[in-house]
């Protein structure tokens, strides 16, 4: 296994990425750098392919054109064993948690440890309970995923993503459906883990306000490219129409709120309106 290059400033470098699904182009020449040890946010209107980008970075999908380097390694060149070795250094939080439904909360968090390590049961128990305590769900260890609320499931999934002490943590919409208390705790947890453990975090979110409190750097993706980037403050004061529309949630602007449709008046009052 090739070792990750620890020296360069950028942990992930994406160059000229092109990806299309069917006839619809999702990315058209996307360039993006993610810095080591920072919290990077990927934002953008619905349907711009933020989740697709995460799947490309983790090679669950393969781009049609362009390269993705992680720590200096072109991930397209890895074979399956090397890819799995690389993925052990990733932790990923899925939108809906993606807990394994036939295992208890405890076993879900213990799953990566049991599959990849030969730790004793006592040690596994220790590690798992510590991680569950960090997300406030040590008391739920014996519950099954079906008994959890959506927010709780997300927190368990976060504990599971952390359990292997990854170098890169990826969050797909981590703030959706959390109550304000858990949201505050999770936001602080993301920030704290990043600072104390030196993890590189990537957050995909629509939630401008929450992202602004936690991210070092944000990328606004629209039309298959990076439309704007910078710190939350830079984005908030940016001049671009698109950035202003997105950051302040306005209906009018370069991004159409309405899906492509025939003329409103024509459709309501025209010939076909019987």
């Amino acid at each position: 296994m090739k070792l990750l290059d620890e020296s360069s400033e950028n942990l992930i470098e994406i160059r000229d990425l092109k990806y299309s699904r069917g006839h619809r182009a999702i990315f058209e020449g996307l360039d993006l750098d993610i810095k080591r040890g920072e919290v990077t946010a990927l934002m953008g209107p619905s349907g711009t392919g933020k989740t697709t980008l995460l799947r490309l970075i983790t090679r669950q999908l393969v781009p049609q054109h362009g390269t993705i380097h992680i720590g200096g390694i072109d991930i397209a060149t890895l074979n399956l064993a090397e890819l799995y070795q690389l993925r052990q250094r990733f932790g990923m939080l899925f939108q809906n948690g993606a807990l394994l439904t036939d295992l208890s909360v405890f076993e879900n968090v213990a799953f990566p440890l049991r599959e990849h390590t030969k730790l004793t049961n006592r040690l596994i128990r220790h590690v798992v309970l510590t991680k569950l305590h960090a997300v406030g769900l040590r008391g739920a260890a014996d519950m099954m995923p079906s008994q959890l609320s959506g927010g709780m499931a997300r927190r368990v999934a976060l504990a599971r993503a952390m359990v292997m002490d990854p170098d890169i943590l990826i969050y797909d919409e981590p703030f959706v459906g959390l109550d304000p208390i858990s949201m505050g705790v999770i936001v602080r947890l993301v920030r704290r883990m990043n600072d104390t453990l030196g993890i590189t975090s990537i957050i995909v979110s629509h939630d401008v306000a929450e992202v602004s409190t936690v991210a070092d750097c944000s990328f606004l993706i629209s039309g298959g490219k990076v439309a704007a980037s910078g710190s939350p403050d830079e984005l908030r004061t940016a001049n671009s129409e698109l950035v202003r529309q997105f950051m302040h949630g306005m209906a009018d602007g370069p991004v159409a709120f309405h899906y492509h449709a025939p003329d409103y008046e024509e459709q309501l009052l025209g010939r076909d309106a019987e």
């Binding site: 669950q60 993925r87 990733f90 809906n96 394994l100 439904t101 799953f111 990566p112 990849h116």
Partner: protein, 253 residues
Amino acid sequence: MRDLYNNSVEFVRTFGAFQLFSLRVIRYSPLVLLSRFDLVVKQIFNTGALSLVIIMVCGLFVGGVLGLQGYSNLARFNAEDSIGVFAAFGLIKELGPVITALLFAGRAGTSLASEIGLMKATDQLSAMEMMAVNPVPRVLVPRFLGGIIAMPLLVAVFSTIGLFGTHLVAVELLSVDVGAFWQQIQITVDMHDINEGIFKSFVFGVAASMIAVWEGYNAVPTAEGVGRATTRTVVITAIAVLVFDFMITALMI
């Protein structure tokens, strides 16, 4: 014409993908059997033990029907003593493996397909891949092996209970001589007949489990897609089992 062409290409492509998939599952099987037998045992319980009730009830009634039908037909030739042999051949060689496989498709096949389909729809399989765990040996192969091991055992239970059902109807109800009933079975049924049943149950086990696992793994990851995958599992398994049954019978008779 164009549709016909596209459909044929699609069929060949799917069939090829199914074969590659089967090879992938079979390639991992020895490894899983040796190193993760605990997972296989869990699946034998899920597919085998949980299907026992339906298998036993159906076996009893199928045996009973054989007793009634056999008696009314054989009595015309004054051969009602041969009813045991009639039922034993029917159950061991044909009805046992075939009906068990069909019930298995309905009870265990659907649950396998929908479970795997739902795991896919809720990103559980992606999550596993992200945790650097290959879902083929971890999820698919244990379920496949569980089905293969469970099926011959279920067939044995079905045939035994079925024969007991025939005994109940023929001996207890229609007063066929109990000695003639069992002795004729003992004399006539030989190892070759039983091997045929075992071979069939093994083949049906492979077919039913592989189809269920394939349909679940390739389900469109939505509620509708998973529903369609479970339906297809039953339909395709039923067709495959009956076709294989004809081919094996033609070869072995």
